[in-house]
């Protein structure tokens, strides 16, 4: 059946597959966008600082990374060719593939020596690639010739890929080291006024303050709510509280932001005034502050934690509960010693996912926390989270391609990586939990 | 008696089974696995035309699997794979490039629990017809009426054809499913314990219907009730642990079975 015929007979399947394939395209699009512009940001930053000037069109080909990439490709193609075609007869290639043993020893020795002779590590690694490819080809041909099955082992490919990644990382840190260092290690974020500086840690600190502050509020309340709903509450109350939680989850974040700005902010200021009067903090409090944001984000993620934890608790088989009660444990002992332990990983998954939600929360935080990037432990002063920085920075038409525009992608990539990691962990834990019950 | 010992008593079922009547389906040496677990071991079986063939056996013996294999319903289970041959005339059902739609059109199926579509009675019966024959409105009306009459349901639903199929009683629903199946004029009707979810009166109606259907169709029925098999079938196959133990005329099986296991089963000593 030809390909066209297949298409014709399976139109529905092909179209549906394409629709689901768009998910991959979207993900690739997101990653491509963020990564591409972030690299631009770092190279532009490094360039404006005068740390390096990198001429891609010439140096890119001759650089170690280029060679590494080329040789990696070679390994891959060679492996493909060998698994596809058989080289049974002896050919002229054999002189190269199977030299006398001492030649191999000499080559290996040279390999070691060149690390001391060549002044770049990358070139050294590239020669290691050459050596590996050479021996790989030889052993593959050998195997074919003596009738052995070619194993599916991808060990060699993995090793060379590992070398390639190391080389890439090395070249990135060589070229972008300064920019990366400034971005990830310094604490002053000032992208607008000269002298500019890009230390993302001040944004990160506020983000974490808000996210963990929100967890401190939402975890006890949310988990408590879940326990109460699944173990204690009369059905009539559940019928009221559950829709309420859904309603809380459905309220737009910008409305929460307004709520924080109008209502929570002044309350926090009163608390701050008390702190200030006692000399616990140095500066008078402001209406916009991370505590304000933490409270409002806490309220926002409360329904998420509550409903997911409740699902986890409900998934615990009834036998466990009954078994514990049959032993004479009280309801509260059963709840805390059996139910919570049994559903612990489900609850933890909900907390991780809620943390990711809190880190990614934008509008409420922008309105509640403020727009001044500072690195301070005083949580009563205006600060700025990563999301808030992006929202504030793009609030209008930015000239594309300039460093101010590129910063948001670097921050966005960092944010994306953090939330994606949290989501991956959370979903993995959740899947394991679902499998357990 | 241990299971191994019982298995030893099962004769090699790959032997040639001959029947006098014309053959509709021929199953040859069928092995089937669910993942690593083998569910059928070398089953060979002829199905006679215009007759009722019953498959009996204890739960989990593979009779439903065998039945679902006859119109490749097992393909819906991803982990299922098989080896062997089922043929219908010169059409090979188990062939790699077999047209599943054509096979299922020729070999209809009625399921354990009545499962009418959530549509009207009329649409339930007419759906398959519309799909395969693209009839005009009048033709469709005629086909629906004929099928409902053949399924002995016409008298009960003639004036409410446009009510939901799910609003009928269990027995009526099952007869509706049969009407739906015979509307597309299959050659074979497979029935997977069609009466297990029904009360005795509905069961009697279905059994009567099966005897009626025999005139036009070949019926293969899986049942866990031996009395039902004795009542409706012409041929009976007894299956045990994925093997076909014995296959013969129903009278022979229920009066004088060759195999010791069969004898013990039909006299109710195990299973």
């Amino acid at each position: 059946m030809s390909f066209l015929e297949y298409l014709k007979n399976n139109r529905a399947r092909v179209i549906l597959f394409l629709t689901s394939f768009s998910v991959i395209l979207i993900t690739l699009g997101i990653i491509q966008t963020l990564l591409f512009e972030s690299i631009n940001f770092f190279s532009e930053l490094a360039e404006s600082r005068g740390w390096f000037t990198f001429d891609w069109d010439l140096a890119g080909i001759t650089s170690g990374t280029g060679i590494a990439a080329a040789i990696f490709l070679l390994v891959y193609i060679a492996e493909l060719l060998i698994t596809k075609f058989t080289i049974e007869q002896e050919t002229k290639l054999d002189i190269i593939l199977f030299p006398k043993q001492f030649v191999i020893y000499i080559a290996a020795a040279l390999l070691v020596v060149q690390f001391f002779v060549l002044d770049t590590l990358l070139m050294g690694v590239a020669f290691v690639f050459v050596f590996i490819t050479w021996r790989r080809l030889a052993s593959a041909v050998n195997k074919q010739r003596y009738g052995m099955q070619l194993s599916d082992s991808t060990l060699w490919r993995n090793i060379s890929l590992g070398f390639f990644l190391i080389a890439l990382a090395k070249s990135i840190t060589m070229n972008y080291g300064g920019a990366l260092g400034e971005f990830f290690l310094t604490t002053n974020w000032n992208p607008a006024l000269k002298p500019v500086s890009f230390g993302v840690n001040s944004l990160l600190l506020t983000t974490l303050q808000v996210a963990f502050g929100a967890l401190i509020i939402a975890v006890p309340l949310g988990v408590g709510c879940a326990i109460y709903l699944s173990e204690y509450a009369p059905p009539r109350l559940v019928a009221v509280v559950k829709p309420t939680l859904e309603l809380l989850a459905g309220i737009p974040s910008v409305v929460y932001g307004f709520f924080a700005f109008i209502y929570i902010g002044p309350l926090v200021v009163e608390l701050g005034e008390y702190f200030y009067a006692n000399g616990w903090i140095d500066e008078p409090p402001n209406v916009l502050n991370p505590i304000n944001g933490a409270i409002v984000v806490g309220v926002m993620i409360l329904p998420l934690i509550a409903s997911m934890s409740e699902d986890a608790l409900r998934a615990v088989p009834n036998e466990l509960r009954e078994g514990s009660l049959a032993l004479g444990a009280t309801k509260i002992e059963t709840t805390f010693k059996v139910m919570i332990q049994a559903s612990l990983s489900g609850i933890i998954a909900s907390i991780i996912l809620a943390l990711s939600r809190a880190v990614g929360e934008t509008m409420a935080v922008t309105l509640a926390v403020g727009t001044v990037a500072v690195f301070t432990a005083n949580m009563f002063l205006p600060a700025q989270t990563m999301t808030a920085y992006i929202a504030q920075r793009v609030g209008g038409d930015l000239p594309f391609g300039e460093i101010g525009y590129l910063t948001i992608f670097a921050v966005g990539l960092y944010l994306f990586v953090i939330t994606l990691t949290l989501n991956l962990i959370g979903n993995r834990v959740l899947a394991a939990y679902r499998e357990a019950y | 008696m241990s299971e191994e010992a019982q298995t030893e008593e099962i004769p090699d079922s790959t032997r040639d089974l001959e029947i006098d009547d014309e053959k509709e389906l021929m199953i040859e040496d069928l092995d089937l696995w669910y993942g690593d677990k083998q569910a059928l071991y070398g089953v060979s079986l002829p199905i006679a035309k215009n007759s009722v063939t019953a498959l009996i056996g204890p739960s989990g013996c593979g009779k439903s699997t065998l039945l679902r294999m006859m119109n490749r319903m097992n393909d819906l289970i991803p982990i299922c794979h098989y080896d062997g041959k089922i043929s219908m005339g010169d059409v090979e059902i188990t062939g790699k490039d077999a047209d599943l739609v054509e096979i299922r059109k020729k070999i209809g199926m009625v399921f354990q629990r009545p499962n009418p579509f959530p549509k009207s009675i009329y649409d339930n019966v007419g759906y398959g017809v519309k799909l395969h024959f693209k009839p005009t409105r009048e033709e469709l009306d005629a086909i629906v009426e004929k099928s409902l009459k053949r399924a002995a349901l016409w008298k009960e639903v003639a004036d409410r054809q446009h009510e939901l199929g799910t609003s009928l009683s269990g027995g009526q629903q099952q007869r509706l499913c049969i009407a739906r199946t015979i509307a597309i004029e299959p050659d074979v009707i497979l029935m997977d314990e069609p009466c297990s979810a029904l009360d005795p009166i509905a069961t009697a109606a279905i059994e009567e219907l099966i005897l009626e259907l025999k005139k036009d169709f070949t019926v293969v029925i899986v049942t866990h009730s031996m009395s039902q098999a004795a009542r409706v079938s012409d041929y009976t196959g007894f299956m045990y642990l994925g093997r076909l133990v014995e296959f013969d005329k129903t009278e022979k099986i229920f009066s004088d079975p060759d195999n010791e296991l069969t004898k013990r089963y039909i006299t109710g000593r195990f299973g």
């Binding site: 399947r13 179209i15 597959f17 629709t19 689901s20 394939f21 998910v23 997101i30 000269k194 006890p220 309340l221 408590g224 709510c225 109460y228 709903l229 204690y232 009221v240 509280v241 809380l248 459905g250 309220i251 737009p252 974040s253 910008v254 409305v255 932001g257 307004f258 709520f259 700005f261 309220v299 009280t330 996912l353 990711s356 939600r357 929360e361 934008t362 309105l367 992006i390 929202a391 609030g395 209008g396 594309f400 300039e402 101010g404 948001i408 944010l415 939330t419 949290l422 989501n423 991956l424 | 739609v101 209809g108 499962n115 579509f117 959530p118 759906y127 799909l131 395969h132 739906r180 199946t181």
Partner: protein, 565 residues
């Protein structure tokens, strides 16, 4: 022996105490959510009261004179090489009335063009940054009647005037009627009766009482008359109330009450017809048709009434566009409303078919290959990606020109597509859930009559999963309706004085647009408290819209369920 008894008694007491404390503590935490919600609703509505009650809002038709000083600098923030300058423009402002001299320093801190509004009043200055085209403009506004003197001390020379002096002009601005004011609970008698009737009927529906039903029984056969009376009352209420919001809502109450009455009467008739007695009231619940839908709508109406009536929402708020920065009370959310609708429509059209297709593929067609697993994992994790990241995706793909950018500009089309991408994983997950819950037997029976896989999916699986899919889609839509972050990135602006054009990105035209959450965001960022009241009003409108969407989802689900069973 006695000691052990005592010990046991004491430990039991302790245990009981712990039991009570524990459960009541948990109950307390469970109810905190409710409390938060109550505070939220109260506080959102609170700012809308404050102004009206304290009487700070100027009465209608009161004129306030303002002076407007306008200066323009052409590209003052770049020098001849195009590099950024950080020269401060220092303006000195003084007026006759005050004995103090205000000095204002404005730093050009951004490479962007800035439009700076500076307000001057007796108490001092406040600033607000908004944006405008390719020129940097400073507007000085004063609410003083005196002439304000502006002297520029340093910075680039303004281009507005050849002599280097700023252009001075003056104009008059009119304050409009307050959008939200506390009119108290003003009810017409008919309206009160309408609400009372509706509440009464809701209670009857929830817990039927036999003696009341006996009274209703007398109305059997007179349904048309009852309906006519109620509809007439609805008409009278609307006309008598002068088409105001409360009267319209009350008229809706009458109409719903009429429907409920007729459903009740029919139910009673049917019950008696089938030989039941009225005392068997629990039976009634099953015999009344459309019970859930009616109850839903009526309770929704009551809730929205309690929200809207005390606020006396001024209708122009819903029908007016944004006016300008001085007249909060005559601005409205018309443009934002249209923007929201268009963005949602485009998001829906672009994402629902693709998402449902993807869900069908993953649930019905896909074999468990690596690709399938990858797609599944991606869907699950995309659903958790922060919305602002989707905004940046939209900015790079849909808004930007060049590279992989489509160059739609900051338009409704780009915003809709971005929102569609954001909604996709949510819809896919919900649809998968719905498809998974379709029973196996249905698929088998369809295969049994010889359907192809596509026919099984199209004719049987999809219709059965439809309620779930629709509910999921509408919920996803309601989620993106409240989402502002991606649109901030895509480039929605708040100051829109025209109705947005949905296809402007493709065919040219003015691409600017706004949506309700964006309005709330920008209005909250304004320093003037009057705008906060506007933000509150917009919040309430948004929540009302969301509640309406969710109700539609619930009603649809009920409808389909009834049809299927």
């Amino acid at each position: 022996m006695k000691d052990i008894d005592n010990l046991q008694k004491r430990s039991r007491k302790l245990r009981d105490f712990a039991e009570t404390m524990g459960s009541s503590g948990l109950a307390f935490t469970g109810l905190v959510g409710l409390l938060f919600l109550a505070i939220l609703v109260w506080q959102i509505t609170a700012p809308t009261f404050i102004d009206g009650e304290s009487g700070e809002i100027p009465a209608a038709n009161e004129f306030i004179t303002e002076s407007d000083y306008e200066m323009e600098w052409d590209y003052p923030n770049t020098d001849s090489n195009g590099a950024l300058t950080t020269d401060a423009i220092v303006l000195e402002i003084s007026w006759d009335g005050g004995d103090e001299v205000h000095e204002l320093q404005i730093n050009i801190i951004s490479e962007r063009d800035i439009y700076e509004d500076v307000y001057i009043n007796e108490s001092g200055l406040s600033t607000n940054i908004v944006e405008i085209g390719r020129k940097t403009k400073f507007h000085l506004y004063s609410s003083l009647t005196e002439v304000v003197l502006v002297i520029q001390n340093s910075g680039p020379v303004p281009s507005a005037d050849e002599t280097g002096k700023p252009l001075v002009s003056s104009f008059v601005i009119e304050y409009d009627i307050a959008v939200v004011y506390d009119g108290g609970l003003v009810f017409e008698p008919l309206e009160i009766i309408a609400y009372a009737t509706l509440i009464f009927l809701v209670i009857i529906y929830r817990a039927p009482k036999s003696n009341i039903l006996e009274f209703m029984h007398k109305l059997v056969g007179k349904e048309r008359m009852v309906l006519a009376i109620f509809y007439a009352l609805a008409l009278v209420t609307t006309i008598a109330g002068g088409l105001s919001v409360p009267s319209t809502l009350a008229a809706l109450c009458w109409i719903l009450a009429a429907r409920m009455m007729s459903a009740l009467i029919k139910g009673i008739e049917r019950m008696l017809h089938s030989g039941r007695k009225l005392s068997e009231v629990s039976r009634l619940k099953h015999s009344i048709s459309n019970r859930d839908g009616l109850l839903m709508w009526s309770s929704m109406l009551l809730v929205t009434s309690t929200l809207f009536i005390p606020l006396e929402i001024y209708i122009p708020f819903l029908t007016e566009r944004y006016q300008d920065i001085f007249s909060p009370y005559s601005s409205g959310i018309r443009a934002a409303f249209y923007g929201t609708i268009w963005v949602m429509l485009i998001a829906m059209i672009s994402s629902v078919p693709i998402s449902v297709g993807a869900a069908i593929y993953l649930e019905e067609y896909a074999k468990p290959t690596k690709t399938t697993k990858l797609i599944q994992a991606l869907v699950t994790n995309l659903a958790g990606v922060p919305s602002i990241v989707f905004g940046m995706f939209g900015l790079a793909i849909f808004v930007k020109q060049g590279g992989i950018g489509w160059g739609l500009g900051p338009s409704i089309l780009a915003a809709g597509l971005t929102m569609g991408v954001m909604a996709m994983p949510i819809i896919v997950l919900a649809s998968q859930e719905a498809l998974r819950s379709v029973p196996r037997s249905l698929r088998e029976s369809a295969y049994g009559v010889g359907c192809t896989q596509w026919q099984v999916t199209k004719d049987h699986v999809l219709p059965s999963a439809m309620p779930g899919i629709m509910t999921g889609s509408i919920l996803a839509m309601s989620r993106i309706m409240g989402e502002a972050a991606p649109l901030v990135v895509v480039g929605a602006t708040a100051m829109i004085v025209f109705d947005p054009e949905p296809l402007a990105g493709l065919f040219g035209g003015n691409v600017n647009f706004t949506v309700i959450p964006i309005q709330i965001y920008f209005w909250t960022s304004e320093p003037d408290p009057a705008w906060h009241a506007m933000a509150a009003a917009a919040s309430i409108s948004l929540i009302a819209l969301l509640v309406a969407m969710n109700s539609i989802a619930i009603v649809l689900r009920q409808h389909f369920r009834r049809r299927l069973n």
